[in-house]
Every structure is written in structure tokens, then in C-alpha cells.
């Protein structure tokens, strides 16, 4: 991995990464503030909150629980805004390879004494660092909320940590798939479109599987199937589910190195 390329990729995405971290902080703190108010003021006797409709549970990744702070953390992790923030963080640097090919800047870099694998691994590392920063912003905000927002203090630190590790693993897999896509196309817009398409398709498959019993066999096709924050917050045994996305990340990264090393750099 080339350190100069790594630093360059981080610098290129630095400002957007700061915005994503700030957005994550604001959103998570807002969710926990809302949860505190809800848990203190709202009646939890209403049947809707005790047993939400299946479609709603499917949209929130299989579990909805508004009567405990853990349920609010799960809802926050599955919320479209969180998915958008973490997806953006995962794709931010990953799309950089296609952008450099499109812009013509890659010609300057790859005609220097740097192996393509070294270049690609530096971009992948930058992508994972930006994702880690954004996930860390969410994790630290949750810890802050635990100290400053009433009721949220019931959350266990280890449970919260497992949830964010799980989320990181899923989005790390998405990030490496995005690197694989970016390494094989020459247009930034196409790389982003294909990567976002992969995330949306994966999310929709998971929702469809949770809504329709007939589609249950397709569940393993979705990365989000392997991320069940409600289970992760309860026990560490649920961490074994993350082996699937971890394997996807490794395979995607190896495929990216192999294909990028062999491709013709043409615009």
C-alpha cells in the first residue's frame, strides 16, 4: 500500500468526511433525544408500538421496538438517513479510481514506480478509514447520549459496540465491492451508479425477504440480511453472522486487485 496515495485519497475526501461525521453525530443525538422524550411521555400500552405491522418491521431490518432504548438504537441503525450516511462514507474514496481514470490524472500516477495493487490497496484503505471515522462518530455519539440523555443510559456499552462493529463490517463489504466496481470502469458516474445500485438492491432484497415468506430463500443474497442489530445488542454470539459480509469484503478486494492489475487504462 502506497502511503502517499493513501494520504492523497484521504485529503481529497476530507471535507466531505467531516460533513458525514457531523451529520451522523446530529442524527444519532436527535434520535436518542427523541427516544428519551418518547419513552418518558408516550404510552407504551398502545398495541401498535407493542406489535408493529410486518411491513414496518421489514423496513427496519426485521425488528421494531419503540418501548426500549435498545429498540431506538436498532431503528437508528436501520434508518434510511443512517444508511445514506454510511453508504456515502463507504463509497466516498472507493469511487476515486474511476474518477482518476475519467479525469486522466491516473496516467500521472501509474506511470510512476508504483504497483497497481499498491495504488488500489491505498484507495481501499482510505475508503475504510473514512467509513471507520463515520461509524466512530455514531458510536461516540451514542456513548455521549448515554451520559447526557435520560433513559438512554440503560444501553450497554458492549452491546452498542457490537452493533457498530456489525454495521462497520456490512459497510466495509459495500466499500470493497465499490472499490471492485470503481477499479473496472472508467467513468465516475457509472461507478457511483453501480455501487449505489448494489446497495439499494441489497436493501430491497432484504425488505422483500422479510415481507414475503416465499422469497425467504433469497435472504443470503442481501448483505443486510447478515446485519441484525437487535440480536447483536443482546449477545455476542450474533457476531458470527458477520463472517458472510467479511468474506464478501475479502473476495471483493482480491478480485479488485487482480482485475485492476490486468485492465487497460483507457478513458
Amino acid at each position: 500500500m502506497n502511503p502517499a496515495v493513501l494520504l492523497h485519497a484521504l485529503r481529497q475526501s476530507g471535507r466531505v468526511a467531516i460533513v458525514l461525521c457531523a451529520g451522523t453525530f446530529a442524527f444519532f443525538y436527535l434520535v436518542f433525544s427523541a427516544s428519551s422524550a418518547f419513552l418518558r411521555e408516550a404510552s407504551v400500552e398502545i398495541p401498535f408500538f407493542q406489535d408493529p405491522p410486518r411491513a414496518m418491521r421489514a423496513l427496519f431490518g426485521g425488528s421494531v421496538d419503540f418501548v426500549h432504548p435498545e429498540g431506538w438504537l436498532v431503528a437508528a441503525m436501520s434508518h434510511p438517513i443512517t444508511l445514506a450516511l454510511f453508504t456515502a462514507a463507504a463509497l466516498l474514496a472507493a469511487g476515486g479510481i474511476a474518477a482518476e481514470v475519467e479525469r486522466g490524472t491516473i496516467d500521472f500516477v501509474l506511470t510512476r514506480p508504483i504497483r497497481r495493487s499498491s495504488y488500489l490497496l491505498a484507495v481501499a484503505a482510505a475508503s475504510l478509514i473514512l467509513l471507520t471515522a463515520t461509524e466512530l462518530a455514531g458510536f461516540l455519539t451514542t456513548l455521549l447520549a448515554r451520559q447526557t440523555v435520560s433513559v438512554v443510559d440503560q444501553l450497554s456499552v458492549s452491546g452498542v459496540l457490537r452493533v457498530f462493529v456489525g454495521s462497520w463490517t456490512i459497510f466495509a463489504a459495500i466499500s470493497t465491492v465499490a472499490v471492485l466496481i470503481s477499479a473496472n470502469v472508467s467513468l465516475r458516474s457509472r461507478a457511483i451508479a453501480l455501487s449505489v445500485g448494489f446497495v439499494v438492491l441489497s436493501f430491497l432484497i432484504n425488505v422483500a425477504v422479510l415481507m414475503l415468506d416465499d422469497l425467504y430463500g433469497l435472504r443470503r443474497l442481501s448483505l443486510f440480511h447478515y446485519f441484525e442489530p437487535a440480536d447483536l445488542i443482546k449477545s455476542s454470539s450474533a457476531m458470527s453472522q458477520l463472517i458472510g459480509p467479511a468474506a464478501v469484503a475479502i473476495v471483493a478486494l482480491v478480485a479488485a486487485v487482480v482485475t485492476f492489475s490486468r485492465r487497460d487504462i483507457v478513458r
Binding site: T111, R262, V266
Partner: protein
């Protein structure tokens, strides 16, 4: 030339390409190109758009994978020796972009870091191309085409490479900067540097190159040395004193002769001495002899329809 000599020249060349073929599916972009650049030599690489010049250069630099053929860069056989060779090479791509949010200094610093060689010539080059500190401190998205080209030239030479490969290097430069660039090439050659330069500006290639390789439809169709460039067709005109004496219809070595009044126009190639001796015996008022340009060589190969 025997086999040992061939092998020797192949091994000694700064760049040696042998039988390079590049296919894109069914399209044959480069078809068996062989060329070499000797140490301290400037080779011009000419051809019309789509002839395969850029494809050849991209194959040499490892950006494209050749379908077949062999390439040797500064003694290293490709692809195995590419990283070692690239450390000692400068490259100026034809169509390029820079990182819009970086300053000129930022771009040059980044490229210097990935080069792993000190930018020993940067200050001198920036001075030569009139890139001030204020210019270099601005983001490159505010640069003109010419300014970006200057940055590209500086990055190609800043680490004092042994071989420079350039694709249309003077694109966007004004005439003064073009002249500075040609001076840079001359001093680089004097210092022992080798250059492969593709261009469609024939006058620049003619001025700078020791040898010109002409490409057509992916195949090398002609190689012209500096000596051959010098010893080429000259366009001549002789004006005679008005006289009752009949003027000669032709002169030694002349061809394409035409006469308008007392003026004789013709082309000449080869030794000028017999021509000058013949003219000395005639009532000549004026004699003009201009070398034909590389353009003539180019159109000789590509035909008049290219004009």
C-alpha cells in the same frame, strides 16, 4: 548488421520496442511497431490522428497491456522491470487532467512523492516556464490550458529522468513557451537525456528531433534521420539577368522545373556543388534555396489527399 549487433543495440537503447501489437477486440490499433531511442537521442513520433501513437506510448508505460511484442525500458524488460524503469522516466500524457482542488505546488509535491526521487530540477523548470510562487499557490482548477501544460512539463522533468516520453507536449503553449520548451529539450539532450516525443506539429519535431519515426494505421512506414532530414529536397529559385542569350531549360540535379520570365523554379536533391558550378557560369542575379519541410516528407507518405 549481424545478430550480435542487433542484440547489442536492443540492450543498449534507452527504449527498445520490438514487434509491438495491440488489439482491442477485432480492432488492430498497433501492428508490429518496432522502434528504439538511443541514449541522448530525441526521437519524434509522427502520424495522423488514430495512427496508434498514443496507444504505443501507453503500452510502453504499462497503461495498456500489449497483445504481443517486447519492450525494454532503460535496460529492464517489461512487464517485470516496469516499476524499476518508471523510477527513472518522465512522462507527459497527451490528454490529461490535474486534481482540481490541489494547488500547482500540491500537484507537483504529490507526483514527487510517488516518484520516490527528489525534485531536484523543479525550481529551475518553474523559473524557465515563468511559473511564479503565486501561480503555484493557486488551485489548478483556476489554471488556463497553457498553465496546466506547464505543470505537466515540470512534473515530467522535475526528478531529472533519464528518459522522457511525451505525447503532444506543446499543446496549449504560446509561441514563447514553445521556444522555451524546445530549448529545454536541447539542454536535456546535451546532458545525455533521451526523448520520445509524439506530436502533430511537424515544425517542432523537425527542429528538435534527431530521428523521426512515421506511423500509419498502426505500422511504422518510415524512419528519417536528422542527416536525411538535412539531405532532402530543396525548393530553389534562380533569377537571371535580362539577356538575349537563351537560358538553360534545366540544371544539374534539378527537377520539377518551371520558368516564369527570367526566373527559374525547380526542386533539387543531393550534392549542391554541380548545381552551384553550373550557376556560376550563368548571369545569375539571385539564387534562393530553401529546404523542404518535414511536411513534404509527411505528405509524401500520406499522399496529397491528406492536405
Amino acid at each position: 548488421m549481424d545478430a550480435t549487433q542487433v542484440q547489442g543495440s536492443w540492450m543498449d537503447a534507452a527504449l527498445a520496442v520490438d514487434g509491438l501489437v495491440k488489439r482491442y477486440g477485432r480492432l488492430l490499433a498497433v501492428n508490429g511497431v518496432s522502434l528504439n531511442v538511443k541514449p541522448g537521442e530525441i526521437v519524434g513520433y509522427l502520424g495522423p490522428n488514430g495512427a496508434g501513437k498514443t496507444t504505443t506510448i501507453r503500452c510502453i508505460l504499462g497503461l495498456l497491456r500489449p497483445s504481443s511484442g517486447s519492450i525494454r525500458l532503460l535496460g529492464s524488460a517489461l512487464p517485470a522491470g516496469l516499476p524499476q524503469a518508471l523510477a527513472r522516466i518522465g512522462h507527459l500524457p497527451g490528454e490529461f487532467g490535474l486534481w482540481p482542488h490541489l494547488t500547482g505546488h500540491g500537484c507537483l509535491d504529490y507526483l514527487s512523492q510517488v516518484q520516490h526521487r527528489p525534485s531536484s530540477r523543479r525550481a529551475e523548470l518553474c523559473d524557465r516556464f515563468e511559473l511564479s510562487e503565486a501561480d503555484l499557490g493557486r488551485q489548478v482548477r483556476f489554471y488556463s490550458r497553457g498553465m496546466r501544460q506547464k505543470i505537466a512539463i515540470v512534473q515530467a522533468f522535475q526528478h531529472d529522468p533519464e528518459l522522457v516520453i511525451m505525447d503532444e507536449p506543446t499543446e496549449g503553449l504560446d509561441p514563447v513557451m514553445k521556444e522555451r520548451f524546445l530549448e529545454l529539450l536541447e539542454s536535456y539532450r546535451s546532458a545525455g537525456g533521451s526523448t520520445l516525443m509524439s506530436s502533430h506539429i511537424l515544425s517542432e519535431v523537425e527542429q528538435a528531433a534527431d530521428r523521426v519515426v512515421v506511423l500509419r494505421a498502426g505500422t511504422v512506414v518510415k524512419e528519417v534521420s536528422r542527416h536525411e532530414l538535412a539531405d532532402r529536397v530543396r525548393h530553389c529559385a534562380v533569377t537571371f539577368e535580362p539577356s538575349d542569350q537563351p537560358l538553360p531549360d534545366t540544371l544539374p540535379g534539378a527537377f520539377n522545373v518551371s520558368r516564369i520570365g527570367d526566373r527559374l523554379r525547380f526542386d533539387h536533391k543531393g550534392d549542391m556543388l554541380p548545381l552551384l558550378s553550373a550557376l556560376a557560369r550563368l548571369p545569375v542575379v539571385d539564387f534562393v534555396s530553401e529546404p523542404g519541410s518535414l511536411l513534404d516528407v509527411f505528405f509524401e507518405i500520406y499522399g496529397e489527399e491528406s492536405r
